[in-house]
Each structure stands twice: as structure tokens, then as C-alpha cells.
């Protein structure tokens, strides 16, 4: 295929057309215009929602300014995470070293905002000029009496997944430092939900209705003090496997806390997540409460989905997301709407995840790792897709092709998790696919339409 560079071919698979092979977790190909970001991005997205921490980006201004208040991660209290802090390194700092500036910036910002902790993100050039972040953080921690944690997130030292790991390592330094008194045996930490549009509040409410105590949100609406006592929870419930699974592993090793993987997207996966937690605790009363909860929610949501399903049936969907866990739920969610998924891809999926995707998708479905705009374009055209699910960078690709779009990334302002989220998702998909504007767009050959119309008018 013309759109595919030779070096990219092994990162694309077509379900059922050949035995499953797919190479992933590989460095992006130079010049291929990957949709991925970098190690720093991985760390920043995971830690960002911790709302009472100071997030200081140590480097030139770009990394901080491009991540200023770009996510829909809400807080029920402090909003320090929505500010963009940078040491804004200048040429002279690069030559003489940025440690002193970092120290002074930290002191200044901690005095100004009184955060409960601070994360100091390393960027590309910090890794080159060799600033000792550990030493500076230790010094400030001793002076200010709050955790000051370096995040080893130099952009070029791996890909986004390595950034997730760096973020997990940073959080692991806070976990275990707090008092765990009074935590229920039926208690969990929620890992891998970022409280976009208030989603974690819905999820917490479900767990509360089941009689489960949530110790720490990691990291949606997150707090340093909750992280510090997260080791007191009985179970880690992990969503978004790529981003926080490393932390669950660390906590299992250190504190023997087991973990289960869940997804809150789509009603099937949402219900399954709650049942899995209830079953883990094995308490009959909790199980009963969970059944009741699921029943009530389904009774509310399913009838409302019917009207969407009627009109959306048979429409074709493509999925391109950051981590592939979300793709599973989306495949199921589209099935619930009787829609057909014809392409699934992600920036940072694992071989195992792609293999499983190949198993659950229909024959001919394109599975792709680390795609780029031209590949996405060719897949959308080839499959005559009606809607693409992705993030901001994918949006103009879809729109230029006259394809509908649903934002399922960190920037979004719509809650798409939980039972209500499935309804919102259906509404989103419906409002894009069913818009009358597509009659003017390229998929319906806008140009021909215009010529035809003018011919008719001229002919009278």
C-alpha cells in the first residue's frame, strides 16, 4: 500500500487475513509523523490530575506551555494542577546548569502555593546538561517538609510508556508514607482513571453504593495525602493498563496488594468491573448490592440506548486511541450500538493487547500500532468509515475526509465512563454521524453536487 512505508508494515495487521503478527512498543520511525508524544508526555498525563501537587517542568518553556490546562481532569478541591509551572530555562542556564534556578523556582512556588507535594519533571535537555534533580529535590524536601519528587521523564529516553513508568516510580515514593488507620477491609484504590469530566466521581459513587471504601484516586481528583496511605487499601482496581499497571505491580511487591484490571467504558465492561470487585471481596451482601446497582443502572440506560441503536445500526467506526485497553471497551460499545468496527489502533498498545483485539474483532478489521496521519487517512478511505474515535490530532483528519468524530482523549469535556457515560457516548456518536452537514462534504462528492445543482439551475 502506498501509504505504508516498508518499515511500518509489520505494525499493521488485518484480522483473519493472516496469522496474527504485529510488532509494537518500538521507537517511532523518523519522518513518519507519529501521533505519539514522548516520555515527558506519558509522565505528565498520569500525574497531571493530582490536584494539590505542584507540577514543575524543568526545561525550556515548550513542554510546560503545551501541557497547560489541556485536560478535562476535574478536582473537587484544589486546582493547582491546572497551572503550568516551568523553570523556563534560558541559554545561560543550559551552559551553566539549571540546578540553582530549579532550587529557587521550587522554593518560590512552594512558598506561594503551599502545595502538599511537588513533582519535578525532567525534560530532554535536563538529561543532557546533567542537572542533579535528585539532589535539588532532596534539599527542598528537607527545607520545606513536603515530598518533592523528581520524575525521570526526559523526552527522548524511550516512548510514552516509559513516561508512565517514570510517573509510577514517582508515585511509589509517596505511597507508604501515610497512616493507614481506619481503612476498611473492603477498600480499593482506583488506578488509571483521570476524572475527565468528573468520571471518577461517578465510579466512586458506584463503589460506595456497593459498600466499598475508596482510599486513593490514582490519579483523577488525586491528592498527595491519599497517595501516601494508598498502601492501606485491600485491592488495586486498575484501568488504563498501560499507564498505572507498573504502580500496581510495585504495590503488589511491596505491600502484597493484589490488583484487577477493569474498564469503565461501555455498560458491559462497567458492570463487569463492579462484579469483579465484589467477587474479589466475596461478600454476599456486597454482591447483592452490586447486582441491584447494575440492574437499576441498566434499567435506566438501556431503553434510552434503543433510539440510537436504531439509527446507528450498520454504521462503520474506526478507533485510534492512546492505549489499547480503551479500544476493547470501544469495540464492545460499538457492538452494543450495532455498529461495525473496521479499524482499531493505538499509540502504545502491547503485543498481547493487539493479539486479543485481533481475536475479538471481525475479519478484515485493521489493527495498527503507532499510526500516522497518512496511514489513518488511507484506512478511513478504504473502509468508508462513518466515525473515527480519537483525540484532537486525529480530528482534522476525519473532518477533512468528511468523516464524523468522537473525542475520547484527555482533552474531552464529556463524561464517557460509567453507565451514564455509555449514554453520553451514544449521544456523541449520534450527533456526529447523523449531522446533515456531511451531505456537503467530500465523502458525498461535494464537488459533483455543486456542479449537478448548477447544471439543473442553468437548465431551468
Amino acid at each position: 500500500m502506498e501509504a505504508l512505508l516498508a518499515d511500518r508494515q509489520e505494525q499493521v495487521h488485518r484480522t483473519g487475513e493472516q496469522p496474527f503478527t504485529l510488532v509494537c512498543n518500538k521507537d517511532s520511525l523518523a519522518g513518519a509523523v507519529s501521533q505519539r508524544a514522548c516520555v515527558f508526555c506519558g509522565s505528565r498525563v498520569v500525574l497531571y490530575p493530582i490536584a494539590d501537587a505542584l507540577h514543575l517542568v524543568h526545561g525550556p518553556i515548550g513542554c510546560a506551555v503545551y501541557t497547560w490546562d489541556i485536560r478535562g481532569a476535574l478536582s473537587s478541591g484544589p486546582e493547582l494542577h491546572r497551572l503550568s509551572f516551568s523553570t523556563d530555562l534560558q541559554e545561560r542556564d543550559v551552559i551553566f546548569g539549571g540546578e540553582e534556578k530549579l532550587y529557587r523556582a521550587l522554593i518560590e512556588l512552594i512558598d506561594r502555593h503551599s502545595p502538599k507535594g511537588a513533582f519535578v519533571y525532567s525534560t530532554c535537555i535536563v538529561g543532557i546538561i546533567g542537572d542533579d534533580l535528585e539532589a535539588v529535590c532532596r534539599r527542598v524536601e528537607a527545607e520545606k517538609g513536603i515530598p518533592v519528587i523528581p520524575v525521570q521523564s526526559e523526552g527522548f529516553k524511550g516512548n510514552k510508556r516509559d513516561g508512565y513508568t517514570a510517573a509510577c516510580n514517582a508515585m511509589a515514593r509517596i505511597i507508604g508514607t501515610g497512616d493507614t488507620a481506619g481503612i476498611s477491609p473492603y477498600s480499593i484504590n482506583i488506578l488509571g482513571d483521570f476524572n475527565l469530566a468528573g468520571e471518577i466521581w461517578m465510579i466512586r459513587e458506584y463503589f460506595e453504593r456497593m459498600g466499598v471504601q475508596v482510599v486513593a484516586n490514582i490519579t483523577g481528583d488525586g491528592r498527595i495525602a491519599d497517595l501516601a496511605r494508598a498502601h492501606g487499601a485491600a485491592l488495586n482496581v486498575v484501568q488504563c493498563s498501560g499507564s498505572t499497571m507498573d504502580l500496581a505491580k510495585i504495590m503488589e511487591e511491596r505491600y502484597a496488594i493484589p490488583s484487577i484490571r477493569v474498564s469503565y467504558f461501555g455498560i458491559e465492561d462497567m458492570a463487569q468491573s463492579l462484579y469483579d470487585v465484589a467477587e474479589h471481596f466475596g461478600d454476599p451482601e456486597m454482591l447483592e448490592k452490586t447486582r441491584k446497582l447494575v440492574k437499576e443502572e441498566l434499567a435506566r440506560v438501556v431503553p434510552q440506548l434503543q433510539k440510537y441503536r436504531e439509527v446507528l445500526a450498520g454504521k462503520k467506526a474506526a478507533i485510534y486511541v492512546g492505549g489499547s485497553f480503551k479500544a476493547f471497551s470501544l469495540v464492545k460499545a460499538f457492538r452494543l450500538l450495532d455498529m461495525q468496527v473496521v479499524m482499531v489502533g493505538s499509540q502504545t498498545g502491547t503485543e498481547q493487547e493487539y493479539r486479543e483485539l485481533a481475536e475479538i474483532t471481525d475479519p478484515g478489521t485493521i489493527i495498527v500500532d503507532d499510526a500516522n496521519p497518512l496511514e489513518l487517512t488511507s484506512f478511513l478511505e478504504e473502509k468508508e468509515v462513518d466515525i473515527l474515535v480519537g483525540g484532537v490530532k486525529e480530528r482534522p483528519i476525519a473532518y477533512k475526509l468528511g468523516v464524523g468524530f468522537c473525542d475520547h482523549n484527555h482533552e474531552r469535556k464529556e463524561a464517557l465512563a460509567g453507565f451514564q457515560g455509555m449514554l453520553n457516548f451514544a449521544e456523541e456518536v449520534y450527533s456526529s454521524v447523523m449531522s446533515p452537514v456531511w451531505r456537503f462534504a467530500m465523502r458525498t462528492k461535494a464537488k459533483d453536487l455543486v456542479t449537478e445543482t448548477s447544471k439543473t439551475i442553468v437548465k431551468g
Partner: protein, 451 residues
């Protein structure tokens, strides 16, 4: 009256973007060009997201996607591989290569890599223009201008001057502005090269096929003839370093006419007068009429806005122009702030407003939104003028924000905002007046539908 500028160590909510972003935007305004960042993958992706959110258009920025190994042993092989891959996939006419803080710090010699690469690939590759844009030096505007200079330096040829042909270097303007400038120059009968031109590449129509590289941009053939123009008009009163206009003058003897960004009547008059001189024609009736209607509206509305206080922020040259505009309509600019550090902002504002304003506003370079917010508390402004990132401040102060420039991330149509000339000024003026009227109306205890 000017108090000391805030002098903090840290930067909070920057009022600037990084150097390579500006270079990418400038390259994107050239026919058949693909911007390319020599750095790690994240830079390209972050900038694409940032730019897309303003224009709602695809922008593909390629990257060397450097890894740790490359950072240690040098990024040359990745650069070359990336250029080959971009060429194979996009068949560009030009690749605009900008460096990043990573490759500048590891000391990659891009010039040498490209020299080797040219030898290895004789005649098979597109034109390559390179610019050095370490993000620890300057803002996106320095990157933008440096890329324009690099393009002119490497592609403009000399030769005998062609009568009636001029160059226009407008700086970072909106697609709507560019289209309007073309209309004006056409009306004066001037043959103009506008560099760069984002009007089609970043504001394209929906078409019947997907273009790998959006059509439009300044034609390469026109850039080649820039050294033979009779004059270059270059917008920007705070430009520094070697500008493209200065280079054309020194290298090819093309007369440089330096003007402010034409916003407001005074600055627009200078622009129209220059065109009149260059073309030997009077101001076309259509534009004279537009000016007349603008003056008429100034008079109709003057009382509603007189004495209102405004904070202006953003790119330095835009701030100068907006301040000049506000001054001439009777709005008092109380703070003019930019993240840039040209060293020329205060002088440029004084030059354009000195004969109107009894008192010069507080003017500060190197500002961030924390500084601006802090000062705003005592200044009690009635409105803000700048890009979307001032919204949190406008919300806190409960005052209107007039959205101009880049980025517009919280409204649609940033690419269609018209700022320049009599027509753009008219649009801005109506927004300022109506925002003020709307405020008064909503604050009114009775409400009214007739003023």
C-alpha cells in the same frame, strides 16, 4: 508611575510559545512544504496538537524521533532517514528543518549533516531549508522570523529589479488577514510576494480529495524572485536580529520599508500610504470608503468606550498594534505585556501612541500570566485583549476578553479572525464596543433593548 516589573524565578502560565513552533508555522506557509523538527518525537506531536486546536486543520510535522542512543551518538542518521521517509511519503517540494533544544544542546551540526546528505542523494531530494531554533532562546516569534529569514536567505535570487513587484513580510497573521492583504495589494495593481502564506494551507476548503500536503502557500518560484523586487514591506516594530527584509536589502539591494502591524487607523494609514507610493496610485475608492466608514463608527461609538481600561498581551508586535488602536479610540491601555523580550516593546509603544496618550501605559516584556494577573488586581481593567490563554484571568476579573491572535483554543474560527487594515480594525472596534455595551446591559438592574 511605572512600578518595577515583577521579577520571579519561575514561569507560571507562560505568555509565549517555544521557538520551533514558530518555525513550523512559517514553513507551513510555503508551497509544497513539510515542517520537520530535528528532535525527539514529543515536540512535533505537542506542537501539532496546539496548532490543530487553533486552525482545526491537519498539520503534519515530521520528526527525527531521536532516542537515547541518538542523543549520545548524534542525530545525523535519524535526520537523514527521516528526510528520506518524509520525501517518500509526502513528495514535498521543500522540507523546512528546525532544530529543538535537544539537538542544539547535544551539538548536532545540521548544516554538516545536510551537506553530506546532499552529496549522497544528488538531485533526488526536495529543497531543504534549515533554521536553528533552540527553545531556550526567544519565543515562537523569534522562531517564526528566523525561519522566514532562512527561506529568503537560501532561496531568494538576485538580478535586475522588476517594476511593480514588491515583497510583503507580514509576520504571523491569520489566514483571513492574508486574504485581505492580497485583495488590497491587488487593488493597488501591485505584484506581491507575501511570505509566508498560511491562508490556504491552514484554512483550506473542504474538497473532494484529501491532500497529503495542502495546496497553497507562497510559491517557490515567487520566493526565488524576491531579490528582484523594488521594495519589501516588513511588518513589526520590535523585530530584531537579521530580518528577512534587512537581508533582502543588504544582499540584493531591495529597499526595506519597515512598518508596524497595521491595526487602527494611524498604522493602517501608513501601510496604505506606502502602497500608494510604491504603486503610484491613490488609495482605491473601495478602501477609502472603508476607512471613512471606520471613522464614522469611531465617532458614533466614542462615548461608550472612552476611558475604559484595557490590558493587552501577546506577541510583541501584535501588542504594539493593538495598543495603538486602543489609544486612538479612547480606551486606556493600562498594561501591555508580552512573553517576548525584544527590548523594544516600550519604545515601539511610545512611538505609536506618544501623541495620543497623556501617560504611557505600563509596558513589560518577559511577562507570564501570573505576573499579568497580579498586576491586574490593582489596575482594575474593563477588558482584556489577547489570545485564549487570557480567559482564566478574564473569568476571575469578570470582564470581557476580546479574542485576537494565536492561539484561539476556546472558540471556533481563530483562523478567520480579521485584525488588519481598515476592515480588520472595524471588526475589532465593533467587538470592543459591543463587549462594553453587553457588559453594561447585563449589569443593568432593569435591562433594556434600546440604548
Amino acid at each position: 508611575m511605572s512600578k518595577n516589573p515583577p521579577n520571579y524565578i519561575s514561569t507560571t502560565n507562560a505568555c509565549k510559545l517555544c521557538t520551533p513552533l514558530g518555525a513550523c508555522l512559517a514553513f507551513k506557509g510555503i508551497e509544497g512544504a513539510v515542517p520537520y523538527l530535528h528532535g525527539s518525537q514529543g515536540c512535533a506531536t505537542y506542537m501539532r496538537r496546539y496548532i490543530i486546536s487553533h486552525y482545526n486543520e491537519p498539520i503534519d510535522i515530521a520528526s527525527s524521533s531521536l532516542s537515547e542512543k541518538n542523543a549520545i551518538y548524534g542525530g545525523g542518521p535519524n535526520l537523514k532517514m527521516g528526510l528520506v521517509n518524509v520525501t517518500r511519503k509526502y513528495q514535498p517540494k521543500l522540507i523546512g528543518i528546525a532544530t529543538t533544544c535537544l539537538t542544539e544542546t547535544i551539538g548536532d551540526d545540521v548544516g554538516r549533516y545536510l551537506h553530506e546528505f546532499h552529496r549522497e542523494t544528488v538531485g533526488t531530494m526536495p529543497i531543504m531549508v534549515r533554521v536553528s531554533t533552540p527553545s531556550y532562546n526567544g519565543t515562537h516569534m523569534e522562531g517564526f522570523h528566523a525561519a522566514v529569514t532562512a527561506v529568503v536567505e537560501q532561496l531568494a535570487e538576485g538580478g535586475e529589479a522588476v517594476g511593480g513587484k514588491i515583497n510583503l513580510l507580514p509576520g504571523f497573521i491569520s489566514p483571513a488577514d492574508k486574504r485581505y492583504l492580497s485583495e488590497i495589494l491587488d487593488d493597488f495593481g501591485l505584484d506581491v510576494t507575501i511570505l509566508p502564506d498560511l491562508s490556504d494551507t491552514m484554512d483550506g476548503p473542504a474538497t473532494s480529495k484529501y491532500d497529503k500536503i495542502q495546496p497553497g502557500g507562497t510559491p517557490l518560484a515567487s520566493i526565488a524572485t524576491m531579490g528582484r523586487a523594488t521594495a519589501t514591506i516588513e511588518f513589526g516594530r520590535t523585530l530584531h536580529g537579521k530580518t528577512a527584509g534587512a537581508l533582502l536589502e543588504q544582499k540584493h539591494g531591495v529597499k526595506r520599508i519597515s512598518l508596524g502591524v497595521p491595526i487602527g487607523i494611524e498604522e493602517s494609514d501608513l501601510f496604505f500610504a506606502s502602497l500608494s507610493t510604491l504603486s503610484g496610485r491613490p488609495i482605491p475608492e473601495k478602501h477609502a470608503q472603508e476607512r471613512g466608514r471606520l471613522v464614522d463608527s469611531y465617532i458614533d461609538c466614542h462615548k461608550y468606550i472612552f476611558g475604559k481600561k484595557a490590558i493587552v498581551y501577546g506577541e510583541e508586535d501584535l501588542v504594539v498594534a493593538l495598543t495603538a488602536f486602543l489609544a486612538e479610540i479612547g480606551v486606556v491601555p493600562v498594561l501591555c505585556a508580552s512573553g517576548g523580550k525584544s527590548g523594544k516593546l516600550a519604545a515601539a509603544i511610545k512611538e505609536t501612541t506618544g501623541d495620543i496618550l497623556a501617560e504611557q501605559p505600563q509596558v513589560f516584556e518577559g511577562m507570564d500570566f501570573f505576573d499579568i494577573s497580579e498586576m491586574a488586581e490593582s489596575l482594575a481593567p474593563d477588558l482584556l485583549i489577547g489570545h485564549s490563554k487570557g480567559y482564566p484571568l478574564a473569568r476571575k476579573l469578570e470582564i470581557p476578553l476580546i479574542r485576537v491572535g494565536f492561539p484561539i483554543h476556546d472558540r471556533m474560527g481563530g483562523q478567520r479572525i480579521l485584525h488588519l487594515g481598515y476592515r480588520g480594525t472595524q471588526s475589532l472596534f465593533d467587538q470592543v464596543v459591543n463587549a462594553t455595551l453587553a457588559r453594561k446591559q447585563s449589569d443593568s438592574p432593569v435591562g433594556y433593548s434600546y440604548m
